[in-house]
């Protein structure tokens, strides 16, 4: 039961190799479909993160770290937050202070107010998804990776 040392069986490895892209595709669907149906940035991000967690559990944690290094995690989580909060600030900026924070109808992506709004929501969902995914993965790393044992082993 130690994800750092054990070697997985070939069946599990192969199955998850096939599964992971599909999980990720589904996660993307969830993120982008969030504004229309069930799901959204957070759920999508969590699904995305679980695909990585599956990867880490099946292969080992060191390989997982190589795939998603800590710096990438951090950059993704910050970038997600920047997107989220930045869109909010942009709406203030573009409306020259007339619109409120997160009133994304005012960001001139297109000429239509409603389209702007839809795009704004999508952007925000992407931001949330990125942050959630990165944070979840890094929490899992922190919980699962025993630094002491690594040095011994």
């Amino acid at each position: 039961m130690n994800p750092t040392t054990e070697k997985g069986s070939i069946v599990v490895e192969t199955v998850s190799r096939i599964m992971i892209p599909f999980i990720q595709l589904f996660a993307l669907y969830v993120i982008f479909h969030g504004s229309l149906g069930p799901g959204g940035g957070f759920q999508g991000g969590a699904v995305f993160a679980s695909s990585f967690i599956l990867y880490i559990v099946v292969f080992n944690i060191a390989r997982g770290k190589k795939r998603v290094p800590e710096s990438v995690n951090m950059a993704l989580s910050s970038a997600g937050l920047y997107i989220y909060a930045g869109v909010g600030l942009l709406s203030i900026l573009f409306s020259l202070g007339a619109a409120q924070y997160l009133n994304y109808g005012f960001i001139p992506f297109t000429s239509h107010f409603e389209e702007n709004r839809a795009l704004g929501i999508d952007l925000i969902e992407i931001g949330v998804g990125m942050t959630v995914m990165a944070i979840m993965i890094s929490i899992f790393f922190d919980l699962a990776w025993d630094k002491g044992k690594e040095k011994e082993g």
Binding site: S78, G97, Q100, Y101
Partner: protein, 509 residues
């Protein structure tokens, strides 16, 4: 340019959020840059808080609809004089702790600087959020944000702090669970979450059992958060074993913010009429009295300075809650209404902030935790000890310090409601304060070292802490005295009057 000022409340919440993650990224490249980003953010916030206060005092409350959605549906930020006032205290103490933290964290948690500052920044973002929001569920979310950051920050020193943090986590989560239960009850009755909207929708349901239950849930939940007497068990360890600046933030601001949440919920959501229906505030007074006595007595039994200060915080929460409890019955200006409570919130933030930072300084310099080890400390660290004495004098309530004024006001208010027992308790507790603080001062100043911890001998060199740590301590301690004079004067009257007017408390001159 009033249009811009309208956006400041949300900026005070978003900018620290931005900055928290910026610190994370910047820390990856250069560990030293974190602290500067942190300082910059806080200074900006502090300046903004003053602009907000000025705007609120002149033009009245700011209502800010997030995303342009109108209140019953969208989240609203409301800034009135109460928020603005609390925000300034919060940011001021944060700034002091931030300045202090530079040297201390390099020394105490050298490897964890980046994550420390990130969490600290998140803590401040959460506290600002609680203060500024006008939506009760949003308040819950921000309470959780600052609590989670606090759990992690408390645990930073490891060992006992871990256990303390865990206890706090469990109790704090239960507290917030009660809080959302309360929100749920209110929502089931009214279908709204906006504080202002609730206050309009609730009155027909005041007799409803669900509403009463909701109020009790709020009281229990927030009492756990603010460590009111029977629920204080998490506090002493958590406050004692956190890093110094976090202790200062916990004792000086975090429990006060929970008190603010309590005031907001009970006066803005449930209005005065509801509070007069139930005898809750009377009960609260007696609980507060128990907290005062218990906190003071327990503080006397402590040998660990920071634990002693933590118990003193329990007692001081008692003061604040007593003042809140009396506020209903005592109406006559200027000690009526919430004035004493608001005063003591500010004063306690200054005093406890100063005391905890000073205690941290002793630990920083010579790893001194226990009062008995402080022999002859005044010769080595004269400025820190002097600051400690000033803050302690203020805690005891000796004039003309800040603590004296708030104590005087609470006493006057208790006399007005003709409850002489409260007066006696307040006076006794100030004597108890004297006992436990004077013990420390006496050891520091009057007892000589017995060839103890220093290699320099009894008339050793000065071993003062770095300037960056000293300045906030001295600033806070001198404010302990200055604020006493300010409170006696007329400067704070507009703010306090506006708060009382808003809640329908007190007599307006």
């Amino acid at each position: 340019m009033t249009g811009f000022v309208e956006h400041l409340p949300i900026l005070t919440i978003v900018i620290p959020l931005f900055s928290a993650f910026t610190i994370l990224v910047a820390g990856w490249f250069n560990k030293k840059s974190c602290i500067f980003i942190f300082w910059l953010t806080l200074t900006a916030q502090f300046i903004m808080s003053f602009i907000i206060l000025r705007r609120v005092l002149i033009h009245g409350p700011i209502h800010y609809w997030l995303g342009g959605w109108k209140p019953p549906w969208g989240i609203e930020l409301v800034v009135d004089s109460l928020n603005a006032y609390i925000l300034i205290i919060l940011l001021f103490l944060s700034l002091a702790c931030a300045i202090y933290s530079k040297s201390n964290i390099e020394h105490e948690l050298p490897g964890k600087r980046v994550s420390f500052y990130t969490l600290f920044q998140l803590l401040i973002a959460g506290l600002c959020g609680v203060t500024l929001t006008g939506d009760i569920f949003n308040m819950f979310v921000f309470i959780e944000i600052f609590s989670i950051s606090a759990y992690a920050l408390i645990a930073a020193r490891g060992k006992i702090a871990l256990k303390a943090s865990f206890t706090y986590l469990i109790l704090g989560s239960i507290g917030t669970c009660f809080f959302i239960l309360g929100i749920g009850c209110l929502y089931s009755v009214t279908g709204s979450l906006n504080i202002h909207d609730l206050s309009l929708l609730l009155p027909p349901f005041y007799g409803n059992k669900v509403v009463k239950a909701a109020f009790v849930f709020f009281i229990v939940g927030l009492s756990i958060k603010m460590a009111l007497f029977p629920f204080h068990t998490w506090l002493p360890d958590a406050h004692a074993f956190a890093p110094a600046e976090i202790s200062a933030m916990l004792s000086g601001i975090m429990i006060e913010i929970s008190t603010y949440a309590f005031i907001r919920v009970s006066f803005s959501v449930f209005t005065l009429e509801f509070l007069k229906l139930l005898p809750v505030f009377d009960i609260l007074c007696w609980v507060a009295v128990a907290a005062i006595l218990m906190g003071s007595v327990m503080a006397i039994t402590q040998v660990n300075l920071k634990r002693m200060l933590a118990y003193s915080s329990v007692a001081n929460m008692g003061y604040i809650m007593l003042a809140v409890g009396i506020s209903l019955s005592a109406v006559e200006s200027p000690w009526g209404g919430l004035n004493p409570a608001l005063m003591h919130i500010a004063n306690h933030a200054l005093m406890k902030g100063c005391l905890f930072l000073a205690a941290g300084a002793f630990i920083y310099k010579a790893n001194l935790w226990h009062i008995t080890e402080f022999r002859g400390l005044a010769r080595k660290m004269p400025y820190t000890c002097a600051a400690f004495v000033l803050a302690a004098i203020s805690m005891i309530g000796i004039p003309p310090s800040a603590g004296f004024v708030s104590k005087l006001y609470i006493i006057l208010a208790s006399i007005e409601i003709k409850n002489y027992f409260f007066v006696a308790v307040l006076l006794i507790s100030s004597l108890l304060n004297l006992v436990y603080f004077w013990r420390v001062i006496e050891t520091m100043y009057m007892k000589h070292e017995e060839g103890g911890h220093s290699s320099h001998g009894s008339h050793g060199m000065r071993e003062e802490i770095p300037l960056g740590m000293l300045i906030p301590i001295l600033l806070l301690s001198s404010l302990c005295i200055v604020m006493g004079i300010v409170w006696l004067g007329k400067i704070p009257i507009p703010i306090l009057d506006q708060v009382n007017l808003m809640f329908g408390l007190g007599k307006v001159p």
